[in-house]
Structures are given as C-alpha cells and as structure tokens.
C-alpha cells in the first residue's frame, strides 16, 4: 500500500500500472494530504510507502523512527499559473494585478508546498501586496484545480502535472512559473516500518522502482523534474 500526496496521485497510478506490467505486482494507492497521512502513519496506519509532497514530513517520520530508510527525493514539482476562463496567461505578472483578473487561487502556504512556492513567486516578483486582496486560499492543490476548472477564479497556481491529467476537450491555458522565483518543490519518499510486516520484498521492489530510469521518465512526462 502506497500513501501518496494528493497532487501526485495521478502520476502514481500511472507508475503503479507500469510497475504491475513489468513485475505483475499490484499496488494499492491511497491518496490524501501529506500532513494527514503523516499523522495517520504515526498512529498506526497500515501503509508501506509514503510519498509526500514535501521533504519535511518524511524527514520528521524518519527522525521519530517510523521508517526503514532515510527520505529520498523522488521528484521535484513545477509550479504553473493557469486559467480556464480563456484568459491569456503568457504575461500573467501584469495581468494578475489588473482589474479583470478575477480572484486568484493558491493552496494554503502554511500546509501545501505548492502554496508556499506560489507565495514565494509572488514575493519574488514583488506583486504579493497588490494581489493579496484577490487571493483565495484553498485547502490543497486539488481545491485550486477545482476552483480553476469551475471558473470560480480567474487564475490559479497549481502543479504542472494537472496539465496532463485533463481531458483534451477542456479549455485551459497555462504558463510555467520561472523556477528561479521559488525554492524547489522537493518531494520525498520513505519506506515505512509497516512494510516489514508483509511482502517486504515487493514493497522494497516498488520503492526502488520509484527511483529507476523508467519511473523518472514517467515523472517527467507529467511535468516533474527528476534528479
């Protein structure tokens, strides 16, 4: 069983499918907010592997002795600005401060790495002040996606992987945010103590697969960068 941060669940399902094709081993994917998953793991959740949206939670689990290995970075996310109102987001920096931008959705900077990155980017371009009045803070990256896709907001900051999850028919415009404007969104994974109980070999196999060239290719396909 793999517990995965909500933003990476789509790619993980692809990885699981690929892994099963190669080895015949089935993987059960459980998604949720990283923080909640971490609390659950500390309280006995039956998960074998944990893929967080950041590095802090895995590190914390490691120091408190809930893991079999040190956290490892499996991918780095990229932040994008997007809209489905048909607006042109190529020059989003000027647009976002304008009148007709509508509300702007970011994930909660306190809990979601993509939210933190978005905040950093806005500060980097010195437009946080003017934008703050329009900011709508969503619970998670998924909720940002909902707001954007349902056009309740004009613009949203989310993960690049969203782009590859959408049906082709969806009206959607997006633009990468320059990675130098925010600190890298490193996503860490750990092998949990629970993995020892059952099928340790298979668990370990999948954990190792996550860092294989084949997996890296799939990660890149969905807009992540890998080491």
């Amino acid at each position: 069983r793999v517990a995965v941060a909500a933003n990476a669940q789509f790619v993980l399902k692809k990885l699981a499918a690929d892994f099963q094709k190669k080895t015949g081993i089935a993987v059960e994917v459980i998604s949720g907010a990283s923080g909640k998953l971490a609390v659950q793991i500390k309280n006995g959740a039956p998960y074998d592997i944990f893929l967080s949206a950041d590095t802090e939670f895995p590190q914390n689990l490691y120091t408190e002795g809930f893991t079999l290995s040190k956290p490892q970075i499996y991918a780095m996310g990229s932040l994008i600005v997007c809209s489905s109102t048909g607006a042109d987001v190529k020059n989003w920096k000027s647009r976002i401060t304008g009148k007709d931008a509508g509300k702007v959705a970011i994930a909660n900077p306190k809990t979601a790495p993509y939210g933190k990155a978005a905040e950093e980017a806005l500060n980097y371009y010195k437009i946080y002040q003017p934008v703050s009045q329009k900011l709508v803070v969503a619970e998670s990256i998924s909720q940002v996606n909902t707001y954007v896709l349902q056009r309740v907001v004009g613009l949203g900051f989310t993960t690049q992987s969203l782009v590859y999850e959408l049906p082709a028919s969806q009206r959607f415009s997006w633009q990468k945010v320059d990675p130098k404007s925010y600190s890298p969104i490193e996503q860490g994974a750990v092998l949990l103590k629970y993995a020892k109980n059952k099928n340790y070999v298979n668990n370990k196999k999948f954990y190792d697969y996550l860092f294989s060239a084949a997996a890296n290719a799939i990660f890149r396909q969905f807009g992540y960068t890998t080491a």
Partner: protein, 223 residues
Amino acid sequence: MEWTPIWLSLKLAAITTMILMLIGIPLAYWLSRRSSWLKVVIEAILTMPLVLPPSVLGFYLLLSFSPNSFFGRWLLEYFNLSLVFSFEGLVVASVIYSLPFMVSPVKSALAHLPASLAEASYTMGKSKLHTFYRVQLPNIKSSLWTAIVLTFAHTLGEFGVVLMIGGRLEGSTKVASIAIYDAVDNNQYHEANMYSLILFAITFVIVILVFVFNKNAMRGPLE
C-alpha cells in the same frame, strides 16, 4: 491564536440559527399540518444535503453560486451579491445544510401536540399565527431548544462546506473550524487545542444556560 476566527464562527452560527428560526419554524408548522405526498417529498428533500459529504455539498453549492452559473450571475447583477468567497455565502450554505436540524424536531413535536389546544385558541378569536406563537410553540419548548442547540453546534463545527465556498479570507470567511483544521495540518497542536478548548468552553456555557433555562421554564411553581 487569533480571536477573529472564533468571533466569526459565533457570528455565523448565531446568524444561521436566527435565520433558521425564522424560516425553519414556520416550515415545521406547515409540514406538521395534515400531511400530503407533496409534504413528504419536501421533507425528504430537506434531509438530502445531510447525505452528501459536506465538502461535496460545498462543491455543488460552489457550482450553483459561482458567477458562471445562472443563479450566481442573477444575484450579482440584481443584488450585487456574490455568494462565493463571502460571509453571505457561508450563511446561505449553512442555512441549507443545517435546515433539517431545525425543522425535523420542531415538526415532530408539533405533530404530538393535542389538536384541542389550538382549537380552544381559535374559538377565542385568535388567528393561527397568534395561536402558533402563543400556544403551540411554548408547549414544545423542550424540542424547540433541542433544535436550536443542534443547529447552533452543527453550524459551529461546519467545515467542509465553508472550506469549499469560503476560501479562507481573513476576517470574513476564515472561521474557527478552519483555523483549527489549519493548525492541526500545520502540526501546531497546541494552537489547535487552544481553539478547540475555547470553542468547547463557549458552547458548553451556552448549552448549559439553554438547558438550565429550559428546565426552569418547564418547572411549575410548586415543585
């Protein structure tokens, strides 16, 4: 720890409860009168919002309130009112969500009341409205308070809907339940505990006061 979210939560719960008293109690009265198929269906529909997970209900409300929807645009154009990302939106959503907690207990209690009480009042020339507020309602006081307490508490704890259509705006939609949730998510357990304790304490006092008041109201002069 800030006080704004708590204050906001209490305001939301109080306003919602008040609105629900205004619309829920007459609705309960109407539903308690001779029942028809229509009323049974309406009653079932009122219960429906409960069945959905709050955040999903919030999602559907988001769709219907958003300026892209017909209803949302109409509100915006004619009333300059936006129900997404605003306190007003939270109130409307909470009203929908908590409606059955106000209506059902009151309706059931009215159904148990002997018909002759109202009849006696009618022969004294009192209107149905007057009779309802002076005779029927006071005689189901205990159920009425139950409804009010459940509604109030439920609105305070309401979270999923609020999170979806509120957008965490400081001072207008970031209510206490969201602050607690964020604190837990942030590993700020101490802060979460503080918020929880304060909410508990305030509600506990309110509920105790209601029960004590209610108890005295039901007690006769000789006991």
